[in-house]
Subunit: 283 residues, 2 copies
DNA sequence: CGAACGCCAAACGAAAATGCATGGATATCG
DNA sequence: CGATATCCATGCATTTTCGTTTGGCGTTCG
C-alpha cells in the first residue's frame, strides 16, 4: 500500500471530483484517476461509486475514511512538531485577523516587528472565514470570539469599544426610534453579531441601506453618506469624513482573542511577535 | 510532504541501516538514501545522525517518531477495516500456534476445514515468537497465555494436561529425588514455564541433559533415550517409543487461548474456522 | 437549440524515480 | 595482516510515473 494514495483518497472524498482533488493537491486529473485506480486495486475494494455528479464513497470507502483522516491528523502533527522546534528568528509567520483589525491595530505592530526581525517573513491574511490552526492554515489567529478548538492556546487580548458613526454634519437619530435613518450593517451571514442586534433595538425604525462583511467598506460607505454604521472605535475614530454619534447609549464592545496551536508554543519567532503584540496593544 | 516517505523513515529507524530498511520494504539501498534525503529536505531538518554504526535519530527525528508511528497504526487499521468486512468464504487465513499444538491439535481440524471451504487458503505458522495481531502478522493466534494486547478478542479454548514421559522400558525416578535421571527441558529462554519449575521441584537431583524450544524435538529426544521430558499429553500419548511415568504427582496443566483482532470480528472465513475449532476441540 | 463548460477516460511523450553496478570506507574474522 | 563482509554514495540504464492533449459525454446557459 502506498501511503501517498491515502492523501489522494482524502482529496477525492472532499472534492467529489478528480479535477477538484487534483487542483487541491497540485496534481492533474489523469493522475488522480490513475492513483485512485491503483489504490483500489491494491486494497482489492472499490472505494467510490462513479455517479453522474461525482465520486461518492462506497461502504468500504466509508469504512476506511476515519483511518485516512487520522493518518492526515498525524501527518499534520508531524510537520507541526518540527516547526515548533525552530529556535531561530527567521522563517515565515502566517497571521489571520479581520480586515479592520489587521489594518488599524496590527499593521503598526507588524511594521515594527518586521524592522526588528528582518529575517522573519510575516504574512497577514484578512479573511472572515475561520482558518484552521491544526492544518496550519495560519500560525496565529486574531478573532472576536474565544477559541474552542482543542490543542489551541489562546488568551484575551484587548477589549474593543464600538461606536455609532455618521457622515460629518449629517442628522443624528434618536435612541429607540431612528425613523428616516439609513443603516450600513454587516453581511447577512453575520446577523448574529451583537452590534447588529443593538442597532435593531436602538434604532428600530431605521432602514438597512447596505450591507458588507467588511468594516472598512462600511466606514467608507458611511463617509459617503450611505447611512449610519456601527464601527470599532479604533477604526471609526481614524476614518476621515465620519463622526461618532452619541445617542445616549453606546453599542456593546467586544473582546479580541488571539490563539495559536500548542505545538507551536516553542516557535521563537511566534513568541517574539506575540510578545510585541501584547506589549503594544495590551499595555 | 510525501506520506510514503514516512514509511521509509520508520523502516530506517527500526533497522538502523539503509540496506536493512530497503530489504524490509522490498526496495533498494540507493532508493532509501535518496528518499530519506528528499524527506529531510522537504522538512528542512536532519532526521538522522550518520554514525559509524548506522543511522540514529536526531532530536528532530525523535520528535516526529511518535507521529510517524501513529500514522502507521492508522495505515494498518485501514487495511484491517477492509479485510474485516469481507463476507465471502474465500481468501487467506494466517494462523499461529506452537509447534506441537499445530501438529497434533489443529492439523486435523484444519484438514477438515480445508475440505469444507476449498477457496480459503489456510496458512499455519508455528513459531515461538509472538506474532502481532495489530500488524496482521497473523489473523488467529493460539497460545498458552491470556491475551493482554488491546483490541484483541480472545477466549479460553481448552485445558491441556501435561505428563512426565520416559523412553519405553526405562527406569522410573522417584518424586522428590531424581538422582541419576537425565532431563530434556525447554529452552533456557522459557525457563519461567510452570512445567520447568515443576521438574525442578519434583526431581531436584536430576541433571538437564538437553534443551529445546520444540516439544516435538523433546519428545523425539525422549524416545531415543536422552532423558525424561514433560510433554503435553495430546502429544506425549501419541508419540511412539515413550510412555507416561506416574511418580505420584502430575505436572501442572495449562490453558490454551485463542485470540484475533477486533477489526476481524466480521470476517466470515475467520468466524467459520473458529467455530469449527471450538466445535472439535472444546466440545 | 446550439455553444460552452464541466466532468472522466485514453494515448503519447517527457520527466522522475528506481534498480543495478561500482567504488571507497570501515569493521570482522581467520 | 590480508580476505571478507557490510555499509553508504555515485553514475548510468531502465522502468515507472506524470503532464499534456485529445475525445466523448452530460449539463447549463444564452
Amino acid at each position: 500500500m502506498n501511503w501517498s494514495d491515502v492523501e489522494i483518497f482524502l482529496a477525492i472524498v472532499r472534492e467529489g471530483t478528480l479535477g477538484g482533488a487534483a487542483r487541491r493537491l497540485g496534481l492533474t486529473q489523469p493522475t488522480m484517476g490513475r492513483r485512485l485506480k491503483a489504490f483500489e486495486a491494491t486494497l482489492g475494494q472499490m472505494l467510490f461509486q462513479r455517479t453522474p455528479d461525482g465520486f461518492v464513497l462506497t461502504d468500504e470507502g466509508t469504512a476506511i475514511l476515519v483511518h485516512a483522516e487520522r493518518m492526515e491528523e498525524e501527518a499534520l502533527a508531524l510537520r507541526r512538531a518540527l516547526v515548533g522546534q525552530e529556535r531561530q528568528l527567521e522563517g515565515a509567520l502566517r497571521l489571520s485577523s479581520s480586515d479592520w483589525f489587521g489594518a488599524h491595530m496590527l499593521s503598526p505592530v507588524l511594521a515594527e516587528f518586521s524592522l526588528q526581525h528582518p529575517k522573519v517573513l510575516v504574512e497577514l491574511v484578512t479573511d472572515s472565514r475561520l482558518l484552521n490552526l491544526s492544518r496550519r492554515e495560519a500560525d496565529l489567529v486574531f478573532r472576536i470570539a474565544p477559541f474552542t478548538e482543542p490543542d489551541v492556546i489562546s488568551r484575551k487580548l484587548i477589549h474593543i469599544e464600538y461606536g455609532l458613526y455618521a457622515a460629518d454634519g449629517s442628522e443624528h437619530p434618536n435612541l429607540g426610534d431612528g425613523a428616516g435613518a439609513r443603516l450600513v450593517t454587516m453581511d447577512e451571514a453575520f446577523g448574529g453579531m451583537p452590534d447588529v442586534a443593538w442597532l435593531k433595538r436602538a434604532l428600530p425604525k431605521a432602514d438597512v441601506a447596505m450591507r458588507s462583511n467588511n468594516r472598512e467598506v462600511q466606514a467608507t460607505l458611511c463617509a459617503r453618506g450611505a447611512g449610519l454604521a456601527v464601527l470599532p472605535r479604533p477604526l471609526g475614530d481614524t476614518v476621515a469624513g465620519i463622526e461618532r454619534v452619541d445617542i445616549g447609549e453606546a453599542p456593546p464592545g467586544r473582546d479580541t482573542w488571539v490563539g495559536y496551536h500548542r505545538d507551536l508554543k516553542r516557535l521563537a519567532r511566534l513568541r517574539a511577535l506575540l510578545d510585541l503584540v501584547i506589549e503594544r496593544l495590551v499595555n
